[in-house]
């Protein structure tokens, strides 16, 4: 959100431990079940160091024993796995007229979710509502407050004076304040604020179709169209946190240059249907129309395919992701239709001979994707150390 000149922190013993704990947790998560020696080899630490960390994390309840694996030569490996109840992530999604929340455990399983309407979206009201969601999630699940590692919050963006004001989705009264600070005050938790596309990308990484992937793009159908980018497990969010505004890139439709999201987005399909006298308010309406093969919807899909294909080509060539994932507020069937209909460009860095995955996939987090993603931000933080591979 803020700008450029953050100072890089130094490392001392305490931060070393924190990093190494995150590294171990990430290794266990990636492997499912793994022994100490293997983590030591992979990370370059000594077995003893890993052993000490694992003992710590067993005591904390973050890990649990997971049987011995035999078959090799020497002493059978004592394996460890993530203890689901070792920690939780709270996800909050704030929309102009509603608040959603989800509580997920360390393995990404949803333990609780909830939705309330907002009568107004002034900061005071929203903060109270958000605190109430947290209270309720803890009460309904019996999770202790100290087990919650943090809260991810998804809010309408972009923030700051960006030239894309009044895009219809922003919250009045939230322009010149510090949402993170306010939310930390209301929730008494570390708070991570992100936009819907970035959070959704994280949801797919933690509990969806992108598990095991580190570098991918997530194309998010919200009101408009957003893009979440992960490189090496970290979000690429630009200098001011507004990267991924793919909806605003210029494309040519019927010979006229327009914004991509005026052809490919929920608003766009709703406008098209509305012009044909069809009122499609939500995803269920769209699902029904698609199941009925409603001609105006198929028409819209036809017009959307070409700019959509162009967008995929742009994403692939600019980011070279392992895969592009589609998701958000669009029915699965419609997304699948787009994936089938798309004409992926041959001249793309992603069109490699040795691919194993498809270039395009549909996300599996469904309509709660942004809320789950908000919670996933917290887990990602717990699994991903600060240190990046040096080369």
């Amino acid at each position: 959100m803020s700008a450029s000149h953050r100072q890089i922190p130094g490392v001392n013993a305490e931060r070393t431990r924190s990093h190494n704990r995150q590294m171990v947790l990430g290794s266990v998560r990636a492997a499912g079940a793994i022994g100490r020696a293997e983590i030591a080899r992979a990370s370059g630490l000594s077995t003893q160091a890993v052993s000490n960390i694992i003992a710590d994390m067993l005591a904390d309840g973050m890990l649990r024993e997971h049987g011995r694996r035999t078959g090799g030569r020497g002493l059978p490996v004592q394996q460890y796995a993530i203890n689901p109840s070792g920690g939780y992530g709270l996800g909050i999604e704030i929309r102009p007229n509603a608040v959603f929340s989800a509580l997920i455990d360390l393995t990404g399983t949803t333990k609780h979710s909830h939705r309330t309407e907002l009568t107004n979206n002034e900061p005071k009201t929203v903060l109270a509502e958000v605190a109430e969601h947290k209270f309720r999630a803890l009460q309904d699940t019996g999770v202790r407050e100290t087990s919650v590692l943090g809260a991810g919050v998804v809010m309408p963006g972009p923030f700051g004076a960006t030239g894309i004001q009044n895009s219809g989705s922003d919250l009045p009264g939230w322009q010149d304040i510090d949402p993170q600070g306010l939310l930390e005050g209301a929730l008494h938790l570390p708070v991570f604020v992100e936009n819907d596309a970035n959070a959704s990308a994280m949801a797919e990484r933690i509990s969806g179709v992108a598990q095991g992937l580190e570098t991918f793009a997530f194309l998010y159908f919200g009101q408009g169209l957003g893009l979440g980018l992960l490189q090496g497990g970290r979000l690429v969010s630009g200098a001011f946190g507004n990267a991924g505004e793919i909806g605003h890139i210029p494309v040519i439709a019927q010979g006229v240059p327009v914004a991509l999201e005026s052809c490919v987005s929920r608003l766009s399909v709703q406008a098209h249907l509305s012009a044909h006298g069809i009122d499609a308010r939500d995803m269920d309406d769209l699902s029904r129309l698609y199941a009925q093969s409603a001609p105006p919807l198929l028409e819209w899909l036809d017009t959307a395919v070409q700019p959509f294909s162009a967008a995929i080509g742009i994403i692939e060539n600019l980011f070279d992701p392992q895969v592009v994932i589609l998701g958000g507020a669009m029915p699965d069937a419609v997304l699948d239709h787009l994936i089938d209909a798309v004409r992926l460009p041959d001249r793309s860095v992603s069109n490699r001979a040795d691919r194993r995955q498809p270039r395009l996939m549909r996300g599996t987090s469904g309509r709660m994707t942004a809320t789950l993603g908000a919670a996933a931000l917290v887990l990602n933080q717990a699994f991903t150390p600060m240190i990046a591979a040096s080369r």
Copy 2:
């Protein structure tokens, strides 16, 4: 270059020291001259820790004393600055028919540069030539071998089976080998391989117009068109190292979808001029033509402006950079013309009210930009620790 599953390393005392040294060097570089206490405050380390590191680096010759700064209350600050001769970066640019090299000191000043023609570009010939460049650079400057921190190497990409083979710029015989390993063997130095666009971006950060910037995009005019992306001082290079292939994104020219670089690139302008009977072999020819306001060149510029503007819009909205920088094998006057003529979209996250810098700038590294950038990769490594700010 390689794929996804690199394991995150653990941190021990040794790596802690290495990180903190890089952090200190980066702080000194960013500040120009700075004292120990200030670095300690900014990094969160104790004064003593910083003091010890600085003592080390004075002994190594990386830093030098830079007078006391008085004016405040207490004891005047003993300041330190980068010692230019404390280390050097070697940059090598390999092209199908030539090898370029540059040696830069710790402050980014070019101490030596050289060019030789290649009669063939088999690995064996090229490796011998590259080693010869290193030998010559050291001999001509008197720099000791141990002072060279590493070598950056720029080679034609993209690598791997990417669907963009035979783009005319690749090196035959280099497809199925490990360039980094071979080069390290030939040079006896740590080697960083990058493409021309990424390296050029780094040149602007180390010694050009992007000093002090951490998140920006560099649009590189080579044979085609490439894009180098830095976020937080680190390259965004995608899952397979081929991010930034902006030349291949689809745009509409005269109603037909074509690759961007078929309208905006040196090949494109040369083709256009050639169709008008003008033979423009190199940048000097183009400069002359522009100075003469040659109508075919101005014509080409007119056709290029619209797709060029679209590309800038795409870059801004996908990356949210502090600035987009133009450079590479195109005369300054032509780049300036494009910057003047461009129609920057209003609907861009970069169109913010509180901007101080222009959205578009011309790079200052000139035609040696990729070679200097290769050398700059080494310095960036020395200045940028592995650890990223945690949020």
